[in-house]
């Protein structure tokens, strides 16, 4: 970390610090050299994270982190490239780059801090905001269905896809570690609480209330599959967690 950049800009109670911590923990466990690791981000709260890491980092334009990262990784496959992004950055303005990076299956690790809201601009609806949730641009509740980012990454061709939350610190760290190890594009979605802009408008009075919600509504993918096989209902507000896919499609930009 860059101690000379503290204090950071994340609000108190924000989940992004936890996700960043898990990411750095996983990178540490890989034993990657700092000078061979590059962090890339776009715009938004999540994308400020690389600025606090003592390594080469590129804080780019809104939505384009994956395209910049593609250039870095393809020009120099020896570098380890980790992309830190958010739901607005990745799935709205950057949606096209997201599916194409997955399709190319470039050897990048993408950690998406999904707080289901535009935090930095003060709480507007995002592509992952749950239907009926309140935001400053959906004052009567969002009418739009949300994206399932993991399904999107799987359909587009990523080699590794996993979803956890800021509550599931150990699981999330393990998932990121698995993503770093696997060649090709690894997508790790980390639901992250935003007490300032999501929580306070959506009945999570304190930061921990939303974390608690992640804990009580999380349901493992294995259980979801079992319930499906048994013909049982899956609760509509369930957050499906776990490793969604791990495969070995041909990948690009893999270090030799």
């Amino acid at each position: 970390m860059r101690a000379d950049r503290l204090p950071h800009i994340f609000c108190s109670g924000c989940g992004n610090g936890t996700v960043l911590n898990c990411t750095l923990n996983a990178v540490d466990q890989m034993g990657w050299k700092k000078e061979e690791t590059v962090f890339v981000s776009g715009i938004g709260c999540s994308s400020r994270a690389p600025g606090y890491i003592l390594a080469d980092s590129l804080h780019t334009t809104h939505g384009r982190a994956l395209a910049f990262a593609t250039g870095i990784k393809m020009a120099k496959p020896e570098l380890h490239v980790v992309v830190l992004t958010g739901d607005g950055d990745l799935a709205a303005i950057g949606g096209n780059h997201f599916i194409h990076a997955c399709r190319r299956n470039i050897d990048l690790s993408v950690v998406c801090m999904n707080n289901m809201i535009y935090g930095m601009t003060g709480g507007q609806v995002s592509p992952t905001t749950p239907r009926t949730a309140l935001s400053t641009t959906t004052p009567y509740g969002s009418a739009e269905p949300a994206f399932d980012l993991c399904e999107l990454a799987i359909a587009a061709g990523a080699n590794y896809v996993s979803r956890w939350t800021s509550f599931h610190v150990k699981e999330l760290t393990r998932a990121i570690l698995a993503g770093l190890r696997i060649p090709g594009l690894s997508f790790i979605e980390a639901l992250s609480q935003c007490p300032t802009n999501f929580g306070k408008r959506n009945k999570f009075r304190q930061a921990m209330d939303q974390v608690e919600y992640f804990k009580t509504h999380g349901i493992l993918i294995e259980k979801v599959q079992r319930l499906r096989e048994e013909g049982k209902d899956i609760p509509p507000d369930a957050i499906v967690l776990g490793e969604m896919i791990r495969r070995n499609r041909p990948a690009m930009g893999v270090r030799k």
Partner: protein, 360 residues
Amino acid sequence: MQGNVACAEGALAAGCSFFGGYPITPSTEIAEHMALKLPKAGGVFLQMEDEIGSIAAVIGASWTGARAMTATSGPGFSLMMENIGFAAMTETPCVIVNVQRGGPSTGQPTMSGQADMLQCRFGSHGDYSIIALSPESVQEMYELSVMAFNLADRFRVPVFLMADEIIGHLRERIEIPDSVQRVERRPLNQGDLPFHPGEDLVPGFPRFGSGFKVHVTGLTHDERGYPCTTNPKVHEELVKRLVEKVESKRHEIADYRVTNPDAERVFVTYGSPSRSVEQVIHDNPGEEIGHLRFRVVWPFPEDALREFKDAKAFFVPEQNLGQIAREIERHTSVPVIRLPRFGGSLHTPEELTSALGAFK
């Protein structure tokens, strides 16, 4: 050889090792030739999902130290604008070729234009400076392509090769030198702050993967590279330096050709209309007709106008409504006669001759 192919060959000779692009007429042959040649030269060719991704990938590749380029035309150029500002702000060397066609919007995809000349200078938001070159021949597509990489590395700015469809698609004789001169970006000295301006206002380059652990951001940043977005002084110093590092070197960067400096009637051109003027001068050997031809258009080399001490009028044939004529007007007191040509074709020598006659 075709102009677009010569441009790609120039890039390869200059050591370009990364191309990110998206097909668009009339620039596509550059991407096709790079796709053919780059992998064999140990480089990387990527066809990205759009022009926004293309320029982004080019900037990313440049931070690994690669000489990187993209090529496009009007609509793709417009899409690139935000990231061009990012390249200017982060002082990322890169080469952007625009084989101009008729605009606005989709316009005339297969016809020539020169109406992006102000866009390349001012198209992204905020104050910054860039360098733009304009070739008049297939030979210059090659030469200026090499020059673009050298200037990009020397000044750490996006450099534009502002060609036009006529030159891009022209096939003509070209002489390819055995080797080309290369001016590489200066590496950052150990111990220097990554965005500390050197004596020439251009910081040394801390290539990713070389241990500098540099943070690069499009936000206003201090010399450490750290975001510093609310301090007016930091912002002022940074923006002024981004502009000054180019504008203060305009004499060094200037590159133009002067014909008949004693003439009273002087054509000023860049790109393909230069060829029509050369034909006029050739066909009228008895008449004193001046010609100032810019190979570098931005930063605007206004001193070149003073080479024509007796000038009574500047005639400016352009494939636009007078974008560079407007710039010339700012720097001279003699009449500037705009000779716009639309529809994608080249000014004929006859119409230029009669424009001269009308002034007499």
